[in-house]
């Protein structure tokens, strides 16, 4: 099915990558144009960014060409639910660390969500495993390596 449509129209992923590369190139070029410090001799800090931006433009245009030829390799169908579980776990982890919830709880949630995303159906058991794992890691780093990982109320009990 996809094969027939691909022959007629442009390959969408390749077009998107091309557009994204042009956007990155524009960002790099714009950033370089805003810089104020220059070198007195030789080339300044803006030269290489402009070269890189030019390279990105060429690569972006090359992707457009590819889009009308063979396109990018067609990927297999993805299990978006699994991806969402893992992404959710990572998002929770970042929020938990940012808001001072501490390492152990963040790790417990990440562990449980990832295991769920990979197909386990025992969220609470996995959370407990993640909790113990997080606690052990925290204590090993704190006591053996004298490196304190982000601490919340729970971690302070052990310090």
């Amino acid at each position: 099915m996809t094969n027939e449509t691909r022959k007629a129209a442009a390959n969408k992923p390749a077009l998107i990558v091309g557009v994204l590369l042009l956007i990155v190139a524009a960002l790099v070029g714009h950033d370089a144009s805003q810089q104020t410090i220059t070198s007195t001799y030789g080339v300044g800090p803006t030269a290489v960014p402009y070269v890189v931006a030019a390279g990105l433009v060429i690569l972006g245009l090359a992707h457009f060409v590819v889009a009308f030829r063979e396109g990018l390799p067609a990927p297999e169908e993805a299990d978006s639910k699994a991806l969402l579980w893992i992404a959710g776990g990572l998002a929770f982890l970042i929020a938990c660390i940012a808001l001072g919830g501490g390492f152990v709880i963040a790790i417990a949630a990440l562990f449980a969500c990832t295991a769920r995303g990979m197909g386990r159906r025992a969220l609470l058991i996995d959370a407990a495993i993640g909790f113990v794992l997080g606690l052990v890691i925290f204590l090993v780093f704190a006591k053996l390596l004298t490196l304190i990982l982000p601490s919340g109320p729970l971690e302070r009990l052990f310090l």
Binding site: P13, V17, L21, V24, L27, V28, D31, A32, Q35, I37, S39, Y41, G42, V43, G44, P45, A47, V48, P49, V52, G55, L56, L59, A62, H63, L72, P75, E76, D79, S80, A82, L83, W85, I86, A87, L90, L93, I94, I97, A98, F103, I107, L110, F111, A112, T114, A115, G117, M118, G119, R120, D126, G130, L133, I137, F141, L145, L147, L149, P150
Partner: protein, 499 residues
């Protein structure tokens, strides 16, 4: 003679009990992590970098050497028993190795891979010890233009040899170079691409990018297609040991594999994939039992494994003498050096001979330890393979975030890890190689610095790059290597349309 003396001195450093212990821990951890499916040597080194964070430089680099070799050995175990090569360099091993395991000869396959790695590692490390001082002599006379041209060669070969499309390789490389621009410019203090975020002023950490692309990206990727290909461990049946015939059939492939691996690894020619496949096809042609190929010929494991290990030692030659990483693993090792303010290159040999020769000596020790440790512990490693996939990947994510938090505990860093992970997933999905991006991130700023230094000396005249015979030759090589695949594919297309 000097080399021998330096090497002996290195052994006095590396044979100290505390250093031996670091090496042992490194080999053990490296194998344990490397054996986990989906984790190649590059990721093993990146994940374990934070563990060495608090050690002294010599100790941590020696531990690193152990981790490096351990991770490689662990990777081949996975390739043989799971038919799941963690990196492209063990693809060739998996071809025959998994067939051998299915035929109940997993033990000899693992043994020939362990002993072959040992032989290759030993020879290649001797090669490293003798080649490095010589190359240092040459490198002392290198100007910034030569370094710049050398890095351009590395850029091209790295992005053209990884993966099957040079366009996608170059795209990955340029994204890496772009990330390398982020932060304060070292020569002028100008902030670039930081968008007002203070955490970005120090630039993008190589380990964050590597762990994000390799570990988090891999977890996303495996989760997205988890219903499709369940992995199956092949139990080891029969004897662990190689028979007399196995030995007879293995020794020549080991030596030939080493002969392929070391020179190709030592040239900035992009990693271990090429020599392993060269070795595989050579063994297939020379083998007395060609009918066994495809069904589990021991030569097909012995040769590529030796080539893989020899090229790993080979990549240390440009890394130590020129500061030039030519594989993702070497890029992360370089990040490890930089973490201690050490810049590999000719100066390091002059300033810190203890450290460099201690490291080279500990490569020998790590090799010996690997064989002693791994043959009896195979049972343990096989059990590690049996960890259920959900727990395995949950654990990998836990260790990835742990590493990031230990180095730099900011939510911005975590968000970058997450973003790189998703990028890594998309790149895997559309078959973009990720290794050039890591190399681009670490090599990009170095190339820029050398270029600007060269242009400062020439007062801004870019012709200096072409006027020096060394840099002109290297740039010529880079140009040919860049254009050749496009011209060839153009020819192929032409042919195909003719048919």
């Amino acid at each position: 003679m000097d080399t021998l003396l330096s090497l002996l001195h290195g052994f006095t450093v590396a044979l100290a009990p505390s250093k031996m212990l670091f090496c042992l821990i490194g080999v053990f951890l490296g194998t344990a992590v490397g054996v986990l499916p989906g984790i190649g040597p590059a990721l093993t080194v990146a994940l374990l970098l934070p563990v060495t964070f608090k050690l002294d430089p010599a100790g941590s680099l020696i531990m690193f050497a152990g981790i490096y070799y351990g991770g490689m050995y662990g990777g081949s175990t996975t390739a043989i028993l799971l038919n799941a090569p963690g990196e492209s360099a063990s693809l060739a091993t998996a071809l025959e190795g998994s067939k051998m395991a299915k035929a109940g000869r997993g033990g000899p396959a693992l043994a020939t891979s362990a002993i072959g790695s040992f032989v290759a590692g030993l020879i290649a490390t001797i090669g490293l010890a003798f080649l490095a001082p010589w190359l240092v002599e040459v490198a002392v006379h290198f100007g910034p233009w030569d370094y710049f041209a050398l890095m351009i060669v590395a850029f091209v070969t790295v992005s053209a040899t990884f993966g099957d499309s040079p366009l996608r390789g170059l795209t990955s490389l340029f994204l890496g170079i772009t990330l390398g621009l982020v932060g304060i410019d070292k020569l002028t203090g100008q902030a670039r691409l930081t968008f007002g975020v203070p955490e970005l002023l120090n630039g993008v950490e190589v380990t964050t990018l590597a762990v994000g692309l390799f570990a988090v990206g891999e977890a996303f990727y495996v989760a997205s297609k988890r219903f499709r290909d369940p992995e199956e461990i092949i139990p080891i049946k029969g004897s662990l040991w190689m028979t007399k015939q196995d030995w007879k059939r293995s020794w020549a492939p080991w030596l030939r594999g080493t002969a392929f691996g070391f020179p190709i690894g030592a040239l900035p020619a992009g990693g271990a994939e090429v020599p392993t496949f060269l070795s595989y096809s050579t063994e297939k042609r020379l083998c007395k039992y060609p009918e066994e190929f495809g069904k589990g010929a021991i030569e097909g494991v012995a040769g590529p494994e030796a080539a893989n290990n020899a090229s790993a030692a080979g990549t240390l030659v440009p890394l130590l003498t020129l500061g030039l990483p030519t594989s993702a693993t070497a890029a992360i090792m370089l990040a490890g050096f930089q973490q201690y303010g050490l810049n590999p290159g000719p100066l390091l040999f002059a300033e810190k001979p203890d450290l460099v020769w201690g490291l080279i000596a500990s490569l020998f020790i790590a090799n010996v330890m690997l064989v002693i440790l791994n043959l009896p512990l195979i049972g343990l490693w096989v059990r590690l393979l049996a960890i259920p996939q959900p727990w395995l990947y949950a654990g990998i994510l836990v260790f990835s975030t742990m590493g990031t938090l230990a180095v730099n505990g900011s939510p911005v860093e975590l968000a970058m890890l997450f973003a790189f992970g998703f990028l890594g997933y998309l790149m895997r999905r559309y078959d973009y190689p990720v290794a050039p991006m890591v190399v681009g991130l670490i090599l990009g700023p170095m190339a820029e610095q050398q270029l600007r230094r060269a242009l400062q000396i020439s007062l801004g005249d870019p012709m200096i790059l072409l006027e020096n015979p060394g840099s002109a030759t290297l740039l010529g090589i880079a140009f040919v290597a860049l254009v050749a695949p496009f011209v060839m594919s153009g020819l192929n297309r032409f042919k195909a349309s003719e048919d």
